[in-house]
Assembly symmetry: C2
Homo-oligomer: 264 residues x 2
Amino acid sequence: MGSDLRNATGAQVRSACRSGALTGPTPGLALGFVHANLVILPRDWAFDFLLFCQRNPKPCPVLDVTEPGDPEAKIVAPGSDLRTDLPAYRVWKNGELVEEPTDVTRYWRDDLVSFAIGCSFTFENALLDAGVPVRHIEQNVNVPMYRTNIPCKPAGRFSGPLVVSMRPLTSAQAVKATQVCSRFPRAHGAPVHFGAPAAIGVQNIDKPDFGDAVEIRAGEVPVFWACGVTPQAAVMQAKPPFAITHKPGHMFLTDLKDTDLEGE
Amino acid sequence: MGSDLRNATGAQVRSACRSGALTGPTPGLALGFVHANLVILPRDWAFDFLLFCQRNPKPCPVLDVTEPGDPEAKIVAPGSDLRTDLPAYRVWKNGELVEEPTDVTRYWRDDLVSFAIGCSFTFENALLDAGVPVRHIEQNVNVPMYRTNIPCKPAGRFSGPLVVSMRPLTSAQAVKATQVCSRFPRAHGAPVHFGAPAAIGVQNIDKPDFGDAVEIRAGEVPVFWACGVTPQAAVMQAKPPFAITHKPGHMFLTDLKDTDLEGE
């Protein structure tokens, strides 16, 4: 299934999810289309969360927010149904994971507001196009992610540390990566740090808090980017009575192209 | 008073407003500091408005949003009091202007959420620094503004047309202005149109909907930018039961410098 969808459109991937044909991770599918993080919250939590995203745009670049109860992401994916169009979801109650279904129709409520948030896959495609290697793709593992000691700006009931992803690069590659990623403010933008992990509170680079460790070769430094896991970590910490997110790696495919996320 | 404050800081201008010493317009004051549009709404209207801004970032670049009831813009102006720190306000009930006070302390409520929104003064300073003339400053009048036929993306109860400001430029100046303003995505960014006014629904360039007409000389084209009046027009159209805005030209001075609004 996966290989069939490599050159599919975002809409075709959504359709494969909706029919039940696709329940696996999305990296490598619908190349060139924007994959998005998904967070769904009740209406009375939505203002605080939107404000959290607005105050922390590097980890939380908002691409679309639905009207309460509307399951269609009208701006980034007209015709979509957020209840069925992801390969897999996580359902949370009071901050506890209760289920990982492939369809959340039975959980739907009229007060749910959905947030589609930019994802690092966008800039990774641009890095590869620019000849900058992406180690976790080479090693075929998940990107390593770390909680930092950099606090996000809190908003209402949401707070928490900045979570970062890491890619090892030579200094010349790091400069090129900074140039490339600066073009994508809506997909986490330029790196937030490079070099000494301890400077941002990362004690053991070989033990990521999320994802998998990757090799750092001689002459390379770890380069850190704001990560879309940040808003999910803030949701888990705030423990709203009810929330739905995508299952990690099982993203929402939009109709946007990666190039649409370039700044002006 | 005004000339004393030309080289003042944002905080000094706020203090002059708070003491009642300054009740006039802010253009030309605290040069290099960011002047902001202000919109204050009840909590139950705040999500829709924040979403309207998020969906329409060119006319509505959000710089700060307060917690409900908090009169301090903690991010852009720590120590500020939004009830007293502007030279003049407009108070609205059900979409009707009811008063233009210089202090809104007696109107304050525990459920009010305040929005500080980027303003064109930021990029105008950058234009002047780059040698691009700004006609309404030369003519010492208010910038001409027009309702267009370009709809904003609606959000909940908020909708309305894009309002644009206009500055006449030669084509070489327009290119330079586009380069300069592209650096300021949080202050309306690059122009949205140049040339034929009718193409965006502006029927008579000599009769602006807001502000004053300016001279367009031979060899110049009108260049149009998304304008911070757009969110105010959307608020007036939505007719919330209660709202406060700045009085036009009487802006909220922040601690941000114009250069802080450059993109990455």
